[in-house]
């Protein structure tokens, strides 16, 4: 039996919206192997972002359990979750990424500094080099293009060497060419540093980059969930 870096068991999340109960997640069993690059595809409102939030410890499930790197997230309080995110998770969001007051370099090293860790300058430089951000080190986020901002977000997600990178529609605001570049870099960099990536997208083409694709509809995994059955 192989161990998984991410594992959810019968995950459920119900919202109360007005008089209706919205089932954002309705019994999701989702597993990710170490160093895998997994895409989750679904329409908007299918629950894919909620699933990602659950894995990242941003949201609390109504029912079910989430294990990340062997740790049960349900057992942690808010404070511990924040520390957990800082050390184990790198987030990349659609348009919700950089701290406006800090320059690019400071943004990238933020999770490391938040943990009071020494910044491995060589490593950061390597990442920035890979992501072609070397010249923009001192720039403030507002002066960067969308693609550059997302690349910076990737750099930040990787900088603290987290176990897993969670990307929520990272190219949602970008044109096709830069989307491809950004995701390619994500893939190249993740491969280089042996990181696990869970990517959310509604774009089949983008999902092609990944090792495995999982489809989610109305809060349930409809295809690809059983990829490991029988192994």
């Amino acid at each position: 039996m192989e161990s998984y870096i991410v594992e959810t068991r019968a995950l459920k999340k119900y919202y109360q919206l007005g008089t209706n109960v919205v089932k954002a997640l309705d019994g999701v069993d989702f597993r990710v192997k170490d160093q895998e690059f997994v895409s989750i595809i679904g329409k908007s409102g299918s629950g894919k972002s909620t699933l990602l939030h659950m894995i990242g410890g941003l949201d609390v499930p109504t029912e079910g359990e989430t294990y990340v790197d062997g740790k049960n997230l349900a057992e942690m309080n808010r404070e511990q979750l924040a520390v957990f995110r800082r050390r184990k998770i790198g987030f990349i969001f659609q348009n919700y990424n950089l701290v406006p007051d800090l320059n690019l370099y400071e943004n990238v090293t933020l999770p490391i500094e938040l943990d009071g860790d020494c910044v491995d300058r060589e490593f950061i430089d390597e990442i920035l080099n890979l992501l072609k951000l070397q010249e923009k080190k001192e720039a403030l986020p507002s002066t960067l293009s969308g693609g550059q901002q997302q690349r910076a977000a990737i750099a930040r997600a990787i900088a603290s060497k987290p176990s897993i990178i969670l990307a929520d529609e990272p190219t949602g605001n970008l044109d096709t060419a830069s989307s491809h570049d950004v995701l390619g870099l994500l893939k190249a960099v993740a491969g280089r540093f042996k990181q696990t990536v869970v990517l959310i997208t509604h774009d089949q083409d983008i999902a092609q980059l990944s090792d495995r694709i999982v489809h989610i509809e109305d809060g349930r995994i409809v295809r690809g969930s059983d990829a490991y059955v029988g192994e």
Binding site: H53, D59, A82, F91, Y96, D101
Partner: protein, 830 residues
Amino acid sequence: MRMLENNNRKIITKMAMSSLKGNKPKFAVMIIAVVLSSFMLFSVFTVGSTYFKMQQLQNIHLHGADFDAVLQGGYSEQQLNRCKGNQDVRVAGAGGYAGAAVKTDADDTLHTGMIWCDETYWGVMMKPARKRVRGYYPKKENELMVTKAALKDCGKENLDVGDTFDLTYTDQNGTHTKNFLISGIWEGYGEQQLFYVSEAFYKKTGYQLNNMGVLHVKFKNKILTEDQRTKFQESIRLNKRQNFQFTGETEKSAGIFAGMAGLVLVTCLSAYLLIYNILYLSVSGNIRYYGLMQTVGMSSRQIRRFMKTQMMLIGTAGVGGGILFGFFTSFLVIPKIVRTLGIRESAIPVTFHPAVFFITISIAGLTVYFGSRKPIKTAASVTPVEALNYRLTSAKKKAHKTRNGSLIWRIAADQFFKDKKKTGISVLSLAASLSMFLCLITIIQSHGARTIMSNYMDTDLVVSNDSLMKEEDEKWKPILKPSLVKELKKSKDIREVHPLLCAKIIVPWEPKFSDVWMREFYERWMYTPYKDDINDYKKHPEKYYSVMQGIDKKEFEYLNKSLIHPVDQKLFESGKICIIYGPGMDLSGEIDKKARVKFYLSENKNKKFQPRIAGMTDDSYYGRTSGKGPAVIVSESFMKKYVMNPYISKLNIRYTKEYDDETEDRIRKNLSQSTSAKDVSYESKIDSMKDIQKAQGNMTGVGVGIALLLALIGLMNYINTVFGNIQNRQVSLAVMESVGMTEKQVKKLLVREGLLFAAASLSLTATAGLFITYQYYQTMNYMNIPFQIPVVPVLAAVSSSAAVCIGIPLAAYRIIRGKTPVAERIRGFD
């Protein structure tokens, strides 16, 4: 088990710094608020500490000792112990009249008294008033503690400590001559023509502390409430003869203290509201930011620390700046303020008590802390998911029926009542500054009125012949001659001249009136008991002389109006009745209506009169005589009939043109040319007006300054609310525009909202603010001046605040909207 904490604080400080740098305008406003309020606090406290210190110093200089209250008319051993045992009392020292020096071989007209005082009074209470002491306080009967002035009075100015001299003195037991040793000599403030004597000496004088002793009390607290005072007075059980008085300043300081407390409170409130408002707006505008920080792995503790660090930086910069600013301006401003509060010492060194720094820092710090507590809590409790889905929405709105009335008014009212908390804060802040303005301006204006009204008959100039104050007849000089009066009357610049005629009279002892008078007079004004002097008075009434004063018709009319029971003019003119001047005395219970005052002229014993006493006046215009007898006021015609050449003691002059500088200068020049110009003094309306103007100018300046500072804080608060408000509503405003609201209509809407703000804060000021002003006014109102609001400044304040309330939303709209097209604004921005 406690573990070593993670060493991740540095980044928080760094982020706080860069956040401050990135949001300069917002934080600058906060820093300014803190600077202003700590400046205000610092100044208020410094004024307070300087004032109280100077007041104490002035008291000490005036009285020659440091005490808050004095018990006159003797005291019992029991009372002394009660005072000393009272928990509010720091020290109580006693003294007593021990006789008077009569003559030495060098001088036989001595004016030096002899006083005994106890160790506490000499060693503790008088100590701060003394500059230098050589020798020691007398221990033996024949020892004296002297001053240079007292020695000079004795013609012995060359003597020093250790020397001896013969001195004749009187005491209860008679006149004695003794050889005294000078045990010590002192210099300092207070009564100089005194010899301090030993206890052994005092015991032999025959005086009793029971009726001649004076007890001085110094309290632990500088400020005693009315309640504490009465309680204390009750606790020492005064008898009828005793008189317990607090020094005037003690009373006044309570009012000043209350004013200071009020100022501090309003300042803190305004600063608190502003900080709270700005931070709250900034937090709710930055929800996404805090959410982002949490996804990156910032724990809520770190967020709290982040914001606290920011507030620390703001607080430190603000308080530091404020104190520095206050420190430097206080050298310029504070002496003036303290002077307007009634300190007349020539040099007023600004006192920086270390506690002032401490208190300012802690109060300003607490204000910042409490202002930021709630917003910090909110920021730390933001959950990342909340933040991810967050859009700037204001408070939740319930579904409501569509009301009738103008659409724009309706929207404006909805907006006004939507976020009651924010609205409330800015209204409160505006109202606080307006109320402060109202309170200050009312008090300052009435202060002016109070001072001006004290002038006698509202005349322009009163000239006095001071030589008539002297005891010896031969020194009286007719400086103000009838010819001068005639001359003045001729001048067309002068409308009226009223001379006050004066002649020395002697009121002999008789039981019905003069005895009553003297008894009351002694009780009121003399340290010695009447019974000591009663025989002397009977034998030598000329020592207890007095004056008869003649007034003309106009003056009589004025005086008559001020009497409780006006007297008949005809009888007064004929000299059948008179009016008695009694300084602070009330004989109404002691004498009947038919009482007459019997007297004769000093120059001619045969000219005897006995007019009926028809009334008594307390107007100090008729005072300033040195005799002990009652001053009798009669008509000018009566006076002229019986007195050959009456002296003119005062001239009461009114100019044709009020405040006529030239005329006054001419009169003064004219009088100063006479040989005895030294003995003429003036009471000029122009002078007092200048004094008042100066004092009032300072007060108004300071008051307006305070009101402006508060107004600035209130204004910043309002600006912040409005900017935040319009920023939040950008989308809804844009939607309105997209469905056809013209820009003009949007502006109309904003104007109405501003009007609502103005109306709310003004009505709050008109109710609560006015109430507080009235209450405070009444506590300060010693003179019973009717409460009146100065119309012009208040109207100006009302209109300017209304203008500001309307102008700011319009400006904010213009700035925020810019030239962005509607479509983009509908989308809003992240």
